[in-house]
């Protein structure tokens, strides 16, 4: 969509908030990358760099009691849903102050107090879970909704098929958000299926499917708003396909270059979510200095999270048997 149209669709204030959130997700992940490469963080991490507009554009419409189910690439979803950077980073560090007390880590991070129902180490698994949570929401009649994020890789799994069908036939208040970044690990979506149009698959379930530019936070904002409104008013589920791209490797350790051309990566970076939002703000009259002030604010937030997580205590070895049941 052209920038002119855009400026009319969304207030500068809202766009400014989006910009800051997108930037927070970006800088957070770059910090995690740095810490991980320096051997500071245990386990494995999958970074969200490049896809931030999706999480921000979708979650900005959610209230705390609305629930989000996320994936192995879920730091951004957690932050977008309102989980403090401190709690997320401390969890990645395996600290007591992490959102799961250090028991979970990147792929098993839970913050129900913010309506964040977890990242997940099992591809596809969040889709049945989120569908059930949507059933719970529907039965409680509190007009809360559930958002389930998953990648293109999950689309060919039985978990997707069985759950989306249930969501449709039960007319549940859920939004299935597919982050189609064209690859599952090194596996190009075109190698995994003959139908790479995820939105089109909604028809198989008699459900509404929409495709949107995942680099454009405003476009995502609009599509998500409509879907969430529909869900809140018992209008049933929507499958949203967000076309997006990860700039980094599948996980830290994967250069991400063997299966993707430098050109492809460059093309996508031209349409960077941060750049786009920033350009619009300037075009809408915001000054460089205001933006720089915002950038610094976000940087401070990340630095504070690092300091907090680093200083936090490790879990106690004696606690190993707690919380099994």
């Amino acid at each position: 969509m052209s920038e002119r149209v855009l400026a009319e669709q969304i207030s500068q204030e809202l766009l400014f908030n989006y910009y800051k959130k997108v930037l927070e997700l970006r800088l957070f992940e770059l910090k995690v990358q740095e810490l991980y490469r320096n051997g500071r963080l245990p386990g494995f991490v999958h970074l969200y760099v490049g896809e931030e507009a999706v999480a921000v554009g979708v979650c900005s419409h959610l209230e705390t009691p609305d629930l989000v189910f996320s994936t192995h690439r879920g730091h951004g979803h957690a932050l977008a849903k309102g989980v403090p950077a401190r709690a997320v980073l401390a969890e990645l560090w395996g600290k007591q102050t992490g959102s799961s007390g250090g028991r979970g880590g990147s792929m098993h991070m839970y913050a129900p107090e913010y309506g964040f129902m977890g990242t997940n180490g099992i591809v596809g698994a969040p889709i049945p879970l989120a569908t059930g949570a949507a059933l719970s929401a529907k039965l409680k009649k509190e007009s809360n909704v559930v958002v389930c994020f998953f990648g293109d890789g999950a689309v060919n799994s039985g978990s997707f098929h069985e759950s989306v069908n249930l969501g449709a036939v039960w007319n549940l208040p859920i939004i299935y958000v597919c982050e189609n970044n064209l690859y599952a690990t090194e596996m190009a979506f075109v190698r995994a299926t003959k139908n790479t149009n995820v939105a089109s698959r909604a028809a198989a379930y008699g459900m509404l499917g929409v495709e949107v530019d995942g680099q454009d936070v405003v476009a995502v904002h609009e599509v998500a708003q409509a879907a969430i409104e529909r869900a809140r008013n018992d209008g049933g589920p929507t499958l949203i396909e967000c076309k997006t791209y990860r700039y980094v490797g599948h996980h830290e350790g994967d250069p991400g270059t063997d299966y993707r051309t430098r050109e492809e990566v460059q093309q996508w970076k031209k349409r960077d979510a941060v750049k786009i939002a920033r350009a619009w703000l300037i075009e809408s009259g915001m000054t460089e200095s205001t933006l720089q002030a915002a950038d610094q604010e976000v940087e401070r937030l990340i630095d504070d999270a690092v300091e907090f997580a680093e200083k936090s205590p490790e879990p106690l070895a004696e606690s190993v048997n707690d919380h099994v049941f």
């Binding site: 629930l67 250090g102 107090e113 977890g118 698994a125 059930g132 059933l135």
Partner: protein
Amino acid sequence: MSEQGRVITYADAGVEALREEMRRDASIVYIGQGIGPRGGNFRQTRGLWKEFGDERLRDTGICELGATGAAIGAAMAGTRTVVDEVFLDFALEAITQIVQQAANISYMSNGKIKAPVVIRGAMGSVRSAGAHHSHTFYNWFANTPGLKVVIPATPYDLKGLFKTALRDPGPVAVIEHKSLYNTKDVVPEEEYLIPFGEARIVREGKDLTIVAMSRMVDLAAKAATQLATQGVSAEVIDPRSIVPFDRHRITQSIKKTGRLVVVDESPSFCGFAGELLAIATEDCFEELHVTPKRICSLPVPNPFSPILENQMIPSVDRIVREVHDMMKQPRRKC
């Protein structure tokens, strides 16, 4: 079961547990196949749909993975659920959700998220159901941290344990037996619950201890009756729940009798019977008079032919024979 009550079937005992708890807790939702108007393949939900309707008794198509995951997700979101796999065999379609999500969630979330979901399924051999419909699988569930596992052998136990499961904060596998649904038992009118982790002394005895679960309890009891007429006094114990497990009461009995036989419908390797022998060795090493014994199903898929299936599954005759062999053995010289 001393309390006076009415004689009802195992299937109806489950229905009563559900009806009472679904009345008490309006949040409980039941998900499965054929559990609505049909009342359950085994009549295990008969009449519930009439009372609770489509909202709370939710039939699904054939999608155990989606339905079980949904039951777990709903539970995580605060709606207590029961997911009925009908045949426990079909739980395999969904076991990734049961093990990776339901069983792990409390621990992974540092206790912040619980999944109060009852996973229900009917196990075991019944009338040549064949290889695809006869698995037991409780060994697998019991080997999964975070999952509680109850295995009721009687209508009385099923009702009391099921009700406890329906109030448990976390996931509980209620493993019934297909051959037991029509068995009858006295069940009190008044409400009762049976706590997990309390074994039941089915029959007292002094010469040996027979541990059995589910349908094997009845076989063990019948064998004990025969043995009594032949001068052998067998104590029969049913753990009833294997997670948590009543190690104390069972090892007390073994210490008393000095002899242990485990009757187990599962294949033996890495199974419950072996666990019992291990426990006996760990806790009753000095007290055991003779080598304890496992009487398990043969390690073969369930054959269709009745002749072959009867050969596969433990029988009263086989128990009696093995016990006599054991009683003939000289006591260990110590």
